[in-house]
Structures are given as C-alpha cells and as structure tokens.
C-alpha cells in the first residue's frame, strides 16, 4: 500500500479529475497498399476513466491505440493528448506508458534492470531509479525475482514485470494493447483483478484494447465497440458497476446484462 502511494505522490503534474486526456477526432488510417484500417473514429477519454475498445480481430483497434501513442501517423483527423500531438505529449510530459501485447522484456536484463530501463532512458539517477523500480515490482508482487532473467518467468509473471515497468515511470495515462491475450484464462482473470487494484492505487487513466468482452466489461468504466475493418466505433456502453469490483461480480446479473449488450453491439454491425 505504502509503495503505491509513494508512486502516485512522486508525479510532477496531474490532470484534474474529469479533464479530457485523450481526444480522437475523425481519425482515419489508410495503408499504402490501399487498405483502410480506420474510418471516422472519434472518442474522448477523461482523467480517471478506464476505457476499453473491444472489437473483432483485425478491426484496427491496436492500430488505433498505436496512433494514440504516437507510434504511427493518422491519415485523416487528429489525435491529441492533453491538447498536444501524441509525440509532443510523450516528449514534454513523460506521462504516457504503453503495455504491449507481449511483455517486450529485454532478455539480457534482469527483472529489476528491465523495470529500470525507462528511467535509465530518461536519465533518472541510479539510486532513485533503483528505488522506484523496486517499489513498482513490490506493487505487482514480484520482490522475489528481482535478479532473475525473463526466460525464467512464466507468461503471467512477465506481464506483471511489464506492468511494473509502466508503473515505474509514474504515468498519467496507460495504454494497454491486449496485454493478457496470450495468457491462460485463470491467469488472465487474476491479472484483471490485480490490474484494477494497481490502477486504483496509482490513479491511472487507462485506454485498454481487447477482443474479450468479459474482460472489457469487468475492467472498464466505459466500453467502446468497434466494427470490422474499416474500424468504426459502432456503440458506446457505459459500465455502471462501482469500483472496487469484486471478482464475484462476474457472475452477477447486472454484469451479464452489460456483457450481452456489448455482445449484441458487436454482432449487430
């Protein structure tokens, strides 16, 4: 508890609750070969929200997330983070972190040194980056494997290291691209619970991408449903279930009503 509170307190600049962090306005993306991945995608993410984009495989939802991160350029419309283009926001605010589909750990670095990497890249002093990395790893429950190498870890543990790496940078906005897709169902639902706990502690705003409707509803305060390619947002489903969410909620009637609403929107288009 103590560790995570420190992480939140260490942040330099925080958006106010309800302030708009991400704006996508009429975003379109076409590739050089003529494939249209996205068409007229508009949405907003406010501070403190957990927004999930759910859609079928290949609908362009990962592409959309990469555009928000500034890892690609839009063909139409615009994306802004706190009013800035993503690449500038990334450079000037240092308050965005990306968790990729695979854990993207560097195999030649120990767990600890992997979590230290982003801090090392932004030239944080060695003592401080060590302390912050240790704290982040404590928050995800991985203090026993600091000196292990990634190949010695299970898939779920690797993903937790990846989340710790994001945590260590004390981001305001966390972008997650199907982070649990490669894990078994049991590990996935356990990490879902753990992610919600960390998000609440760290005060993250999250934009999450998945094709799993249950995961989307369990995690989010709002679900955006995307259509098949070219991807558009065809429905927006608010999830009015209070946080903190008990794992048992997944069998409740309210939960399953929302799940079937999202599923209906998915199959409608």
């Amino acid at each position: 508890m103590f560790a995570a509170m420190d992480i939140a307190a260490g942040s330099v600049k925080r958006a106010q609750p309800g302030e708009v962090l991400v704006t996508a306005d009429g975003v379109g993306k076409a590739y050089a070969n003529g494939t249209i991945a996205l068409r007229h995608v508009s949405f907003e993410v406010k501070q403190g929200e957990f927004v999930t984009i759910v859609g079928p495989s290949g609908c362009g939802k990962s592409t959309l997330l990469r555009l928000v991160a500034g890892l690609g350029s839009v063909s139409a419309g615009s994306v802004s983070i706190c009013g800035l283009p993503p690449e500038r926001a990334r450079r000037e605010c240092h308050d965005m972190a990306f968790v990729f589909q695979d854990a993207t750990l560097l195999p030649w670095r120990t767990v600890l040194r992997n979590v230290e990497l982003p801090l090392q890249l932004s030239k944080v002093a060695p003592a401080e980056r060590r302390a912050r990395a240790v704290q982040a790893l404590a928050t995800v429950g991985l203090t026993d494997v600091l000196r292990e190498y990634p190949r010695q870890l299970s898939g779920g543990m690797k993903m937790r290291v990846s989340i710790a790496r994001a945590l260590a940078t004390q981001p305001e906005l966390l972008l997650m691209d199907e982070p649990f897709a490669a894990l078994d169902e049991l590990t996935r639902s356990r990490l879902n619970v753990e992610l919600l706990r960390i998000v609440a502690l760290a005060g993250w705003t999250v934009l999450f991408v998945t094709h799993n409707v249950f995961e989307a509803v369990f995690l989010s305060s709002r679900v955006l449903v995307m259509s098949r390619r070219p991807g558009r947002i065809v429905a927006e489903v608010p999830v009015d279930l209070p946080y903190p969410r008990d794992p048992a909620i997944r069998t409740s009637l309210d939960f399953n009503m929302i799940v079937s609403k999202v599923t209906a929107a998915l199959s409608e288009e």
Partner: protein
Amino acid sequence: MRSPKREVRYGRGNASDEGDPVLSWEEDQPDTSLVPAQSRVRTMLENVLPPVAGLAVLIGAWIAVIRWQHTSPLIAPSPGDVVNGFRDNAGDLLTAVWSTFQDAALGLALSIVVGVLLAVVMSQSKLLERAIYPYSSLAQTVPIFAIAPLIGTIVGNSQLPVGHLPIVLVSFIIAVFPIIANSILGLTSVDPSHRNLFKMYNASRLQELLFLRVPFAVPYILTGVRVSSGLAIIGAIVGEVYLGNGGPQDGGLGYETWTAGTQGQWGLLGASALSAGLLGVGVFIALGALNTVVLRRWHESALRPES
C-alpha cells in the same frame, strides 16, 4: 559495478495478499543429486567416445593405405612420420605456433574493432550500408596473394613500425568480413516491438544503439568472431608465407610449412599443418567457452538443454 552479494530485503506490496503465490525459483533448479551417478558417467562416455573412435578410424585408414600401397615416405608421410616430425621439431613448432597465434590474434582483434564499428555505422544509415557493404565482401574474395606483396611494400615504405604489421593486416583482411556480416544482421534484426518500446520512452538513437541494438547483436557478433577466428589463422599463415622474415620466430607456421614443403620434409609438413589445425580448434573451443560465459544468463544458444 554493484556487488551481486548484497542482499536487501524489500517490503512486499500487498499483492501477495491476493493469495497470488510468488514462485521461488530455487525449487526449479535442476537437482543433480537426483540423477544417478551411472547415467552421468554414461553421458560423459557418450560425449567422449564418438570423437575418439572417429579419430582412431581415420588414423587406421591412413596407416592402412600407406601400408597396402607400399607408399614410400618420399611420396607421402605416414602417421609415424608426422609424429616424428613433431618430435624432431618440437621447439621450432612451438615457437612458430606462438608467433602465428599472436599475429592471428592481433588480426582478429583488429577485425572485431573495425568490423563492429563499420557494422554500427551501416546499421544507422541505409545509404551508408549501400555505400560500404558491397565492398566489404571484396575483402574476402580478392586473392590474398595479390594483396600480400602490396601490403609488404606499402607498410615497408611507410612511417609505421613494420615488424609483424603486414602479416597482421593480411590476417585482418581475410577475417573481417564475417564479423561485418554477422554484426549487421544482429544490429538490424531487432524486434519491432522492442523498437516501439524504446520509441515510447523517447530513447535517442544512441540509447537505442547502446541499450537495444548492441546487446541484441552480441550473440551474432560472437558467431562472427568464431567464424573469423579460423580465417584469421589462415590469413596469418598466408601472410607469413609472403611477408614473414624467415625462421619460426618471425615466420611462424607459414614459414615452417613453406620450407617443409619446398624441402620435401613431409613429416614436418604434416606436423606443421596439424599444428595450424590444432591451433584453430583450440581457439575455436576457447571462443565457444567465451560465448557460453557471456550468454549463459539469457541466450538460448548458451543454455544447457533441459532434460
């Protein structure tokens, strides 16, 4: 360097309260005490016996051919002649091996420095790669006996301290290409998702090079070095033949082999050729061990197979 001995206990977050066990890895280490001693002996025999048997068959066949054909020692040496060649010239051969080893080691070291630097430069710019890469392969395809005398005259007439330098340069020219080729491959085949990670954290080009590309390329570079180690020895020997100053001290194995060949001392010829071969194998094994030491923590190539 931080001391790996220093053990600090950190307080746990409340993640473990979720009942999520944090695995202890000691339990997963292979426990050799469970492997019966008999099977360990067996594994050793399986490793040692085949190469020994292979060598015995080879030498047996060699002896048989010489005996059955009643080949004169003036035409071809028997294994005995080669052994005698070793015995009668042990001092000279040792001096020659040492001299060749030094030339080849310097040639290889120069190849590593220049090869990796060139590869780094090429990895940073496609245009530079196109400008340099095609010509770097010239280094290994141009007949070295065309260049060796040139190197001799150029270095000999320059202000450089000559010594073994021309020999080292010949060794370098032959050895550098595999290092360039392997380093380029390693530096440019970094996983795109890792590149995105670095981009996400606003890494500079230099940081991407130092923290991502170079560490990723290390196994490739080491493979290049192992391939080049044999070439460096061949290069040194060829260089010694053309540019050595005579005697095992300055002419190394090149001189020994050349004089033995021109004087028809087949036993000595075989012994010096074998010395070169053994030197190559020794260097190859040593580099293999280096490979394992450097990569054992993380790279598949250096991990023990799990049984």
